[in-house]
């Protein structure tokens, strides 16, 4: 079967997932603080996560094209379908952009004018961290990525119809892939700084973008494995054999190690140098998010590493599916851990700076991290340079809070709650619905691709 049929039952399952997601999001929104911090952070978290998978697919597809990679060709339509999800990512991130412009969420500290005025460091960064650049980069870059994804898809479909021995479509694909790789490489870095790194607006790490990319790409491979196994069980992709699954397993194994390498490099260098304004990022996570911090490392490194290090586990569906599920959840947690602390911190800051605006709702924004902020910034102050000193001053307001001894944590921040999981299922439903719908639009295996023969005979 080379033509995928999107069954009614699948459709209703995905729609059901989406409805569940919407219900969870509504519940989150209703029960939220005045800033709807939990709702918006969940929205951002899942939007970045699934857009990242789409970006990862386009990146891997382009890299394979240019590197004469032939093994994946028989199922490359799955990656094409993922890459087209960039259009949905554009809409989702468009909502966040609208929020930044319209001020109806408070995810980013730098988006608050009063805070920027009062904060030398934010003022220094405002050339990059401002609503205008955020809008232009998000819409512009994701828009261009989608344009390229959609061009490559059109050429690939044209190859099915009109492909011949001249392989002209393949050459055109390589042309677009060559444009995308450097463009995607540079722009994804800028965009991830804006989307995620700037949530902790004072903090910075040069490695951050590559670290996120590794996370996205490994998740993409894990999703690919699960979808292929599912489609095979439905009678599609009979040409996808153990040999292909083995290679996907190798990639999951390899990129998981690579991710850990980047995790370690970033953590170790910051820990070792112990520069106040860098260390605070990990100090917060180690102290207030301790279980998640170690869980992140444990399930994203140890499980893929220990399970997939053997040859045979990379060839067995059971172990591969197990690891893929772990990796998918694990990197979702990884993004959770990158996003939530910064957002919560910003909410606290703003609640204090801006008590009039929030009014009677102030008590709803729990002042849980006050104590640790105080400690952390005491560290930052001890570093003798202007940046840290100013940084510390910005938090003076917080440290006078009387509730500081009663650290209470709003739900859905220190660990994903049921609503976070429900929201994720909703986004997952949307992602799968979109991908399955795209799969119906082209043959599952492109018969005229010059590498299809190699891919069919792929043998590890």
């Amino acid at each position: 079967m080379n033509q995928f049929v999107f069954e009614k039952q699948q459709k209703s399952t995905f729609i059901g997932m989406m409805i569940l997601g919407v219900i969870c999001m509504v519940l989150t929104f209703v029960g939220d603080d005045a800033f709807h911090t939990r709702f918006w952070s969940n929205f951002l978290h899942n939007s970045v996560y699934f857009t990242g998978i789409a970006f990862g697919a386009l990146f891997v597809l382009s890299a394979s094209l240019l590197a004469y990679g032939g093994w994946h060709t028989i199922f490359k339509r799955v990656w094409e379908a993922y890459s087209l999800f960039l259009i949905v990512g554009l809409v989702l991130m468009g909502v966040i952009v609208a929020g930044v412009l319209g001020g109806f969420h408070h995810l980013y500290h730098w988006a608050d004018k009063a805070s920027v005025e009062a904060d030398e460091i934010l003022k220094g960064k405002s050339g990059f961290l401002n609503p205008m650049i955020y809008t232009i980069f998000t819409i512009g870059f994701v828009g261009i990525w989608f344009f390229i994804a959609q061009r490559m898809r059109a050429i690939s479909q044209d190859e099915d119809q009109n492909g011949n021995e001249s392989f002209s479509q393949h050459k055109k694909l390589k042309f677009w892939a060559a444009i995308f790789l450097p463009l995607g490489g540079f722009s994804s870095a800028a965009i991830i700084w804006q989307w995620v790194m700037s949530l902790d607006a004072h903090w910075y790490s040069t490695l951050f973008a590559w670290y996120c990319t590794a996370s996205m790409v490994v998740t993409m491979y894990a999703f690919t494995l699960l979808i292929l196994v599912y489609l095979r069980s439905k009678g599609y992709y009979t040409l996808v054999t153990q040999e292909h699954l083995h290679d996907i397993g190798k990639y999951i194994f390899g990129i998981s190690i690579f991710w850990t390498y980047l995790w370690f490099s970033q953590f170790m260098l910051i820990w070792y140098a112990n520069v106040g304004e860098e260390t605070i990022y990990f100090k917060t996570r180690l102290e207030e998010y301790r279980p998640l911090f170690f869980l992140n490392l444990g399930i994203n490194f140890f499980i893929p590493f220990l399970v997939l290090i053997r040859n045979d586990t990379k060839r067995k569906v059971g172990s591969l599916v197990f690891v893929s599920i772990i990796v998918i959840l694990g990197h979702w947690l990884n993004f959770f851990l990158m996003i939530k602390p910064g957002v919560l911190h910003t909410a606290h800051e703003l609640a204090h700076h801006d008590t009039h605006k929030v009014g009677g709702n102030e008590s709803e924004i729990k002042m849980h991290s006050v104590k640790t902020s105080q400690e952390n910034h005491a560290d930052a102050n001890s570093v003798p340079h202007t940046a840290a000193a100013t940084h510390g001053e910005g938090h003076e307001v917080v440290s006078h809070d009387s509730h500081s001894d009663h650290a209470e944590v709003p739900a859905g921040f220190h660990f994903p709650g049921l609503l976070e999981i429900g929201t994720w299922i909703g986004f997952l439903g949307l992602f799968l619905y979109f991908v399955f719908w795209q799969l119906t639009k082209a043959r599952l295996t492109p018969p005229n691709d010059p590498f299809v023969g190699e891919s069919y005979h792929h043998h590890v």
Partner: protein
């Protein structure tokens, strides 16, 4: 069933070779008298090496005062050269290990020479940490040996010590890997030799008989060593980067250093492989084994890693501004516009801008341009290390200690001497061992020899099973469409 190869792949072996011809071609340099060009090159290398040894002797006798290092700039050409040579030593094991794990057939043309290059480059690199301590007779203090010095012990918290472990491990595994590959090829030479040479190669090949069991063990060993080497390729330059990045010196302390050093190392390593292979293939007439498509593939790796390094440079530059940390901002402003601006300029031009030429196929497949570019990249990567080390140190926290550094004749002499050592070893290697892996070339002949690839020109239609399967898919699709 023969191997299915995509119709758009280029052959990797030219000249309609047979198995026997491959043996003849590749063994020839080990069996004939060296040509005059080799003799001249060898003499020149040995003279350069001798001069380097003289300079090292001078250094040891008179001490590090003969270098122009000063209170502010404690690391100069010594560590620059060390990092540069270590970087070059990355391509060999990368080609052998990672490309073996990825089943890249094009590695077979260049892996042997690249592995040899790795080993020689690491030897050249190792000289610098040893001599830069000045009092060379206490160099055993590097190692965590039980001693009579009481509580005096190596500092396990220091990345400099980790470096010793990383490099010695890397050297050992690379050597094993290289030698393992050579064993069957030494046996091939032995079988053609007589007299003393036969005995020598019999010894070197450990009595290899070529039995199925030997091959099976050899294959498993190669895979295991590849598996061990792959993380080592990453770890070595990661730890070299830690030498800098664990400090709190602005411009050195940045989290991107580990992967960016590794990318830079692969970049410079491939450039050096290109420089060597272009000369080797010409002198030893190996154009059928190291083809233009090998060169093109390597140029693509150079383009890719060069652009990655470019992303890293710009990331550093941007984050320095973004951090709002004045010392960091100054460090980068100083790099680009300070007293050593010319080295920053050289680095950017040679490493980031010039490899962009390789977007154009004409340049990528031109021997002349590849050679020029490979030299450019080598220069650029040397500048990169110089920028990181000298530029940063020349402007430290106290303006009264700011200074400028130029190397002394001894420092230059030692650097030049390492070239002598490198080429002496490489030229020697090219006469005693096959510079292309005979056994591995033979293993890809049927899938990548030009006479076989050309027969595949009728694309993926050649295999009945496969065509049947794909026809089936197509027909089914059409059928569903008509419903």
């Amino acid at each position: 069933m023969s191997v299915v190869v995509s119709p758009i792949r280029e052959p990797l072996i030219g000249g309609n070779k047979t198995y026997h011809q491959i043996t003849e071609d590749i063994c020839a340099p080990t069996e004939t008298t060296p040509p005059k060009s080799w003799v001249i090159a060898f003499i020149a290398s040995v003279i350069t090496l001798a001069y380097g040894l003289f300079c090292i002797g001078w250094l040891i006798y008179f001490g590090t005062g003969t270098w122009n290092l000063n209170r502010t700039i404690g690391w100069g050409w010594d560590i620059t050269n060390f990092v540069w040579w270590i970087g070059i030593g990355h391509a060999g094991t990368l080609i052998s290990a990672i490309l073996l794990l990825f089943r890249q057939k094009w590695r077979t043309g260049v892996n042997r020479a690249a592995e040899a290059m790795t080993i020689f480059a690491v030897i050249c690199a190792a000289i610098f940490p040893v001599i830069h301590v000045g009092r060379i007779w206490v160099v055993f203090y590097f190692f965590p040996l039980p001693n009579t010095r009481g509580p005096l012990w190596v500092n396990f918290n220091s990345p400099l010590l980790w470096d010793i472990f990383a490099i010695s491990t890397y050297f050992t595994v690379s050597l094993l890997f290289w030698y393992t590959g050579l064993v069957p090829d030494f046996a091939t030479i032995r079988d053609r030799a007589s007299g003393f040479r036969k005995k020598l190669y019999q010894f070197l090949s450990f009595g290899w008989t070529g039995s199925a069991k030997h091959w099976q063990r050899w294959e498993s060993l190669s895979l295991v060593l590849a598996g061990i080497s792959a993380p080592l390729v990453l770890s070595v330059h990661t730890i070299v980067s830690f030498d800098f990045a664990t400090s709190i010196i602005p411009g050195w302390h940045t989290t991107i250093f580990p992967p960016y050093f590794v990318a830079g190392a692969i970049f410079s390593g491939f450039a050096m492989v290109q420089t060597l292979m272009l000369v080797t293939r010409h002198v030893l007439k190996l154009q059928d084994y190291i083809t233009v498509s090998h060169i093109e593939s390597m140029n693509k790796v150079i383009l890719f890693t060069g652009t990655m390094v470019g992303v890293a440079y710009l990331t550093e530059l941007f984050i320095a501004w973004y951090s709002g940390y004045v010392y960091e901002q100054f460090a980068f402003l100083n790099r680009a516009t300070g007293i050593y601006w010319w080295s920053y300029f050289g680095m950017m031009t040679c490493n980031v801008l010039s490899p962009q030429l390789f977007w154009i196929k004409k340049f990528r497949t031109s021997i002349f341009w590849t050679f020029i570019m490979s030299i450019f990249v080598n220069i650029g990567m040397w500048f990169e290390r110089f920028v990181i080390i000298a530029t940063t140190l020349a402007r430290d926290y106290i303006p009264s200690s700011w200074s400028y550094y130029t190397p002394s004749w001894v420092e230059i002499g030692i650097y030049v001497g390492t070239f002598g050592l490198f080429f002496t070893l490489y030229l020697g290697f090219s006469r005693v061992a096959p510079v292309v892996a005979i056994a591995e070339i033979k293993s890809i002949l049927k899938s990548s020899g030009n006479q076989y690839v050309n027969h595949h020109k009728d694309a993926h239609h050649h295999n009945i099973n496969e065509q049947h399967a794909l026809d089936h898919l197509t027909a089914e699709h059409e059928g569903e469409h008509h419903h």
